[in-house]
């Protein structure tokens, strides 16, 4: 009985706190495009929609956060908030003999309901534009009018000075082609940082699904000093091919994060690493 009363009191207290907290929280307007720049825009003919593609910087080899803004093509002040959007990246590589080779790359398509009025998604370009030409198709199924169409952008994918992606062939009997992208830390600092990877597996030229069946281990290292850092947390799968963990930097400088991708306890990657300098 006593505990019951206590529980009630606690519940009351907690609810008051929650309630009062809710009161205090102001509904500040979030600008979903803060820090983003408009990379491409065009009309998805047939869907009566104007498509804008926003990114943090120009397309690069690696995991690109791309946000789509959909506008009604007749009334461009009207943003569309309900649509199916599919990224359809395509690389065309001319071959010395025969047909050009074509392939896609891993994508994360936006939800059909817009978040803060926009459609965040991602495309992980697996190579820069040097070996061929990249084309980014954006398929839109406009739920407002139930029409659909595609817009195609000819884009240039840069090669970043510091690599944030490792595309490798698994050292296992299936010789699967794996795409390991580094998402975080974007602004590394001394101390504990979140580290995040995505892992995708090439199923066919056009299909690169997320894979959660691997494990990832990290070992940061400062090559010139010959030391690492303590208390790192190996990334674990959190859904949709994303792996999250913690990485520690004891000082600024040039760090190398060695990554081992493992399948059933056996390392299948080969000397994969990412440099982080700050």
């Amino acid at each position: 009985m006593k505990t019951n009363i206590l529980n009630i009191i606690i519940a009351l207290l907690v609810s008051t706190m929650l309630f009062s907290c809710k009161d205090e929280v102001e509904t500040t307007k979030v600008n979903p495009l803060e820090g983003f720049i408009k990379l491409e825009e065009g009309y998805a003919i047939g869907a009566a929609a104007k498509v804008e593609v926003w990114g943090k910087k120009n397309f690069f080899m690696g995991y690109n956060n791309l946000t789509v803004v959909l506008l009604d093509s007749i009334n461009p002040t009207d943003t569309l908030k309900d649509a199916h959007i599919y990224f359809q990246p395509l690389m065309t590589m001319p071959q010395t003999t025969g047909m050009p080779m074509k392939h896609a790359c891993p994508v994360e398509n936006p939800d059909e309901a817009a978040i803060n009025g926009v459609f965040p998604g991602a495309v992980a370009f697996v190579m820069p534009s040097m070996g061929g030409t990249w084309n980014l198709g954006v398929y839109v199924h406009n739920h407002k009018n139930d029409k659909s169409g595609t817009v195609n952008f000819d884009i240039t994918v840069d090669s970043p000075t510091t690599s944030v992606m490792s595309v490798f062939t698994s050292q296992s009997p299936d010789s699967a082609k794996l795409v390991l992208s580094l998402l975080q830390p974007l602004v590394p600092q001394v101390g504990m940082n979140d580290i995040e990877f995505t892992l995708h597996k090439k199923a066919s030229m056009m299909e690169w699904p997320a894979d959660s069946t691997y494990t990832i281990e990290i070992a940061p290292e400062m090559p010139s000093m010959g030391h690492g850092s303590p208390n790192n947390v190996n990334p674990v799968h959190v859904g949709n091919g994303h792996y999250k963990g913690k990485v520690n930097f004891t000082m600024t400088g040039e760090w190398k994060i060695n990554v081992a991708v493992k399948k059933d306890g056996t390392t299948v990657s080969k000397n994969a690493y990412f440099n982080i300098t700050f």
Partner: protein
Amino acid sequence: MYKKLFFLFLFFMHLPGKAEPRKQKSAISDTVKLKEVMVMSNIPLDNKDIVNFYRTNQFSTLDNINARLGGLSLIKRGAYALEPQMNGFSGGQLNVTIDGMKMFGACTDKMDPVTSYIEPTNLKMIRLKSGTNGSENGCNIGGSMDMTLQEPTLNTKQSDFSSIAFGYESVSKSRNVLFSVGLGNKKWAWMADGVYRKTENYRAGNGQIIPFTQFEKTNVHSVLKFSPDKMNSFKADILFDMANNVGYPALPMDVSLAKASLFALEFQRKTKLKLKAKLYFNQIIHVMDDSKRDSLYLLKVKPVGKSDSVYMRMDMPGKSSTLGAYVQLIIPWNENNRLTLKVDNYSNYSIAEMTMHMRYAGFAPEPPMYMQTWPAMLRNVAGIYVENSTYLTQKLVLTANVRMDYNIDNLQSEYGQQQFSIFNYSLDKVQSKLIKSVNLLARYDFTNDFTLTSTIGHSERMPTIGERLGFYLFNAYDGYDYIGNPDMKTEKSNFIKLDFQLTKPKIKLNVSPSISFLNDYIMGITDTKIQAMNFYANGIRVYTNVPSAKLFSTDLQLLYTPIQNFSAFWLSKFTFGEINHTEAMPLIPPLKNIIAIQYQKDELQVQAECETALAQNRININYGESKTPAFAVFNIKGAYGFTLSKVLLNFSTGITNLFNKAYYEHLDWGRIYRPGRSLELYIKMSY
């Protein structure tokens, strides 16, 4: 009841004609006066005699004097700035103050103890108190060392003076210039003193030149005193000390600049009550530098692929500023009681940074690697100290003292918080703690000649900034990188000391054994889960509270004056330390003896001294120790003075390490040989 007491108190305060209490013997401190000023007669044996031995060549640094004080030993990392250790305690376990003023070195590696910023020319006296009883200037467990700066005397014939002295030491080609000037009248007096020293690498007893033992330093101190009447006086001190190009052969780096400045204002009012108020500020800037070192200097086996092509430089600047004030009141509240009240507050701001610059030959330099080895921290300590001495009988004096310090650590740097997130700490910006110290002393005069003083006390001390938040501090002694522990508990001590003093006309004898039972003793414990930072580090040690430790110390001092003009002095110091009832405490000196004989007639003085130490075989290998052999070193000195048309000339000469012995002491880091035979010359002209 309290009301009654209060009125009783008032009554005693107003007893006419009883203003002066009985001359109370300061039985609780050893006092060393460094000049020809009167020696406190109530102390049978006060090291004066042994200090005299060194006074004749004043160009020796303070370290030379400290080495000859009872209970003191010195931790040596180079030819300069030796760190005092008292009865096995050092660093944050000691209160080292300048006339009660707090000052903290700015070096994470203890390369700049406060004593290195003070010169013998600046000093009037050094007061040592051992164990928990050294809490007058702050709660502490190991003891206190308070250095009083020189000050001019008002209204005396000696108030106008000037002197200049030159000294030379052959072993290190050490050149020294010292000066002191004074001016004064009835109400005003001013004096200034200073020294310039330049020393090259010295030669050890085996003929080897020891690299990185050079240093150069300048020290100037000026003090102005104003006394409008007999009761009140004001004093302003300015001290400036700068050392350049200081070598530390036992460490992987040297010091390009160590600069200290100190400003102090003092007011004193001496009536029946004695009031002393002081306001002070001091700042130390310390720049470590390894630009003259091979970057792989300390490596025994150079790693493959990381040979000489590695070119790394470390910048390690540190800064420590302290602002403080205190008010002290001595109240002789009745004939048999004297009360001392002291209220003090200080704030210390410390920061130490490390930036490593790596460049492999033929490659562009790498981006700098930066960290805060002492994250910026503001520590404020407010304290109150109360002491009362009571003459219970003619023969028995009881003294009790209590101190409380309220310590607030305010972490100024977000960087420090981030750094410690690596070790899974989520640091609060502010951490505060109240710490206490209690001591009880009883002094009993068995006869006129024989006195026993016993002390019993309990105290605790705050961990230092390095012990709390140090971040990869390399310790060249055991070769480990040290990391602080933000949740460190205070270090505690229960202390017992006995002090036997015999004072006969021809023999003065003092034996003072003491023991400290320590709890939560702070030391670095190896953590194999954390990787070392440097190629040359053996691993990581994290500062930890060890449940128990013990330190036993005893000093013997004997002064024998069989005939006039001739005296013999014997000082022995012994310390024994133990951790957790089993392990030997590292860095504990073996039995050390100093025996000196002196002949003095008129202006002629001849002295001979023998310094010996037993071997230290009780060592802790885990902490980088190895056995140290015994040694004996002999020194002789002579001095003569005469007046030549109003100018007083003093000459002195001496030979230290007469037999050119190659030796080192147990507390000498890196087992680097001490200087070999050296001829010293000193001339002083005073007007």
